[in-house]
Symmetry: C2
DNA sequence: AATTTTCATAATCATCTGGTTATGAATTGG
DNA sequence: CCAATTCATAACCAGATGATTATGAAAATT
């Protein structure tokens, strides 16, 4: 239910994407991966401020949302930010953001 | 709690922003406002697929997140998409999106 | 072989959240 | 003045969600 016929959504998984981004801890983990590159669960747990199982679950959601990749080697799982994962959000921003704010020029300098 | 010392957040309300965007119905309502311009609750309810009280609550969240404005005239409340509301998300995308996808030219490729 | 490390999953729990119906306050209209 | 319209809020409910501790499997180390 909750059909909203006029919805201009970008696929069903764009919902899981927005949901994945809605949690601060999850965003922080993703940001960390972007900045520091591939990390295993121990490293992520050390920095996340929540328990290891919680980190695993958060990473699971990020993975299902397409925002990270998981590479298992031996007993470790290495997570990395997934390049194209934000695509649908970018698209959404393009459609519903650029329409009204043209300040969409992403700036070449990330950290400055 | 849940302190994550490395978090590069853009203000506390950026959290309410992402949360506001995490719900599909809310996104749909926002999209509708962007496309159709200022609307009152009756119009929004007609199109939202949920009850009027629910629409009111959704609009409340969007308002608190800075994504819409509310203008009351008589017994009607007119909601409109708020231009600058997506700013923090755009910034976040710029920092954590542009870093890895060298630059997101949004409209170019809608399919992939 | 025994132990430690790494990770995911299960069992629980409290809280948040989306949804509903009911109600009531204003405003508008007959 | 009474009725209808518009909206927000309250009361309530079911399910999702973030968090914890406990556990167990698999790999690495001793």
């Amino acid at each position: 239910m909750t059909e909203v016929k006029f919805r201009g959504d970008l696929g069903a998984n764009s919902d899981s994407l927005f949901k994945a981004l809605s949690d601060g801890t999850r965003r922080a983990l993703l940001e960390y991966l972007v900045r520091e590159g591939e990390q295993n669960v121990v490293a992520l747990t050390a920095v996340a401020g929540v328990s290891q199982p919680m980190v695993s679950r958060h990473m699971g959601k990020l993975k299902r949302a397409g925002l990270v990749t998981a590479r298992r080697t031996g007993r470790e799982t290495w997570y990395a930010a997934r390049t194209k994962g934000l695509g649908p959000v970018v698209q959404w921003m393009a459609i519903y953001g650029a329409l009204w704010s043209q300040r969409f020029t992403p700036m070449e300098h990330a950290g400055d």
